[in-house]
């Protein structure tokens, strides 16, 4: 289980996250929604310490980290328990698809080369890229790159995978293939926190939906609760804006 307690973050004077509490059970898919600038990316980046929270606690299973006195070793440990899929893919540009997936297994997990290779090939086949093992990122479409990114995250067998708008940099016709892969791994019980604007996807994949605005969690619940019976005015406004066709009852 992943637990965020009172996570706060300020950039200078600007407080971007204000005492965020969030629990994610094993195997659960949590989707975070919210308007631009509400702090979704910042929250995700706090979970793996790409952004240093100003305060709060992060626990993953038995492991607990107090953000006020985090040591280098703790941060390193935290990052080994998490993986991230980036909006801009961020594949290692000088490595092939296969090498991208193998890198963490070799360098972080210290697996023997043959073992790492076998596992990475299996994962790339799983995301439908068995024929692109030796392609460099520059030779892959956005959708293909993002699927390599997902395979790279899966390879680490993390406790949780963090997705920051994994499809928003993609051409519309490529969104489907990436969402299909995420759906598939969600069904396998991988714990995930996903920031997305894909409402249809959020509806059928999420176990839990969180709506953020202005650096706080405004409302959370099951997809039905949040999408069909939102309680807060801000949530209703947001949903109306983003899915005008959605007909929720009040």
């Amino acid at each position: 289980m992943i637990k965020l307690e009172r996570i706060s973050k300020s950039f200078g004077r600007h407080q971007v996250l204000n005492n965020i509490d969030l629990k994610v059970s094993k195997g659960e898919v949590v989707v975070i929604l919210g308007p631009s600038g509400s702090g979704k990316t910042t929250l995700l980046r706090c979970v793996n310490y790409l952004e240093k929270p100003s305060g709060g606690e992060i626990s993953i299973g038995e492991f607990k980290l107090d953000c006020r006195h985090a040591r280098k070793k703790d941060i390193h440990q935290l990052r080994q328990k998490t993986a991230m899929v980036f909006q801009q893919y961020n594949l290692f540009r000088h490595k092939t698809a296969l090498e991208n997936v193998m890198e963490g297994l070799l360098i972080v997990k210290k697996l023997p080369k043959e073992e790492a290779r076998k596992r990475s090939i299996a994962l790339l086949e799983k995301v439908g890229l068995g024929s692109k093992l030796d392609a460099y990122p520059s030779q892959l479409s956005g959708g293909q790159q993002q699927r390599v990114g997902i395979a790279r995250a899966l390879a680490l067998e993390p406790e949780v995978i963090l997705f920051d708008e994994p499809t928003s940099a993609l051409d519309p016709e490529l969104v489907g293939e990436v969402l299909a892969v995420i759906r598939k791994i969600a069904k396998e019980g991988i714990t995930m926190i996903v920031v997305t604007h894909e409402m249809g996807f959020a509806r059928d994949v999420a176990n839990h939906v969180v709506f953020m605005d202005g650096g706080v969690i405004v409302e959370e619940g099951t997809p039905t609760e949040v999408f069909n019976h939102p309680r807060e005015e801000r949530t209703k406004q947001f949903l109306k804006r983003i899915t005008p066709e959605l007909n929720y009852s009040i």
Binding site: N48, Y49, L50, H76, R79, Q80, T82, A83, M84, F86, Q88, N90, L91, F92, R93, H94, K95, T96, E103, G104, I107, V108, Y136, P137, S138, Q139, R152, L156
Partner: protein
Amino acid sequence: MGAPFDLSFVFSFLPKLLTTLSTTLLIVACSLLAGVIVGFIIALPRLYKVPVLKTLAEVYISFFRGTPILIQLFLFYYGLPEVLKLVNLDMTRTPVLVFVILTYGLHTGAFMSEMIRASVTAVDKGQVEAAYATGMTSYQAFTRIVLPQALGIAIPVFSNLVIALLKDTSLAFTLGVMEMTGKAQTLGSVTQHFIETYIALALIYLVISFTIEKLLLVAERRLLRHEDQGSPVKRKFSLQKKASYRHIIADMGPGKGGGA
């Protein structure tokens, strides 16, 4: 001045000059090695923004970039022994070549550090973030992800620096070192065929520069093979590459790396 021009002297001087080629190449190689090491040491505090060291590094770079190499040679050759005398170190027996390599090493180091800083900065920040997110330490992220990409970006600048260094070594003769230019001076004085010596000399420098440039171009292609593929995306990336090169040059300010 001197004897009438005679082309045959150019050819007969070539092998004579080439006997001192090893000295020139020795200076270049040692200075380059020293330069890369010094360059890293100077670049690190600037990359990691270490307060006092960063300022020291900037002063160092300003000195070596802002003063003529000839004056730097004299300062080290005549000045350093005087300074070291104060701490009872006798340098009168130290070979001139040591001073020459020291000066060129420190000089090149200043330019190298700028090259290193600019090319490391040019690597996309997302690359390091992905490395951290994968669970790498900062050392692993630097050596496995940033450095290999920075190398590819740095090579065009590096190439210019090596050629500039090669040409600069011709000033070592002013301290009496018998490298190629020194040898040419001597040959010229003895035979009075100055023009022919300098033509031969120019030819040799030209061939070496050209070879270095081509070799490094091959290295660049290899290091950037991930960006340089024969697909439709190719044009986009070669544009991007040029843009990042321009960015480095702009970042380095006027200097040897940027010139040529």
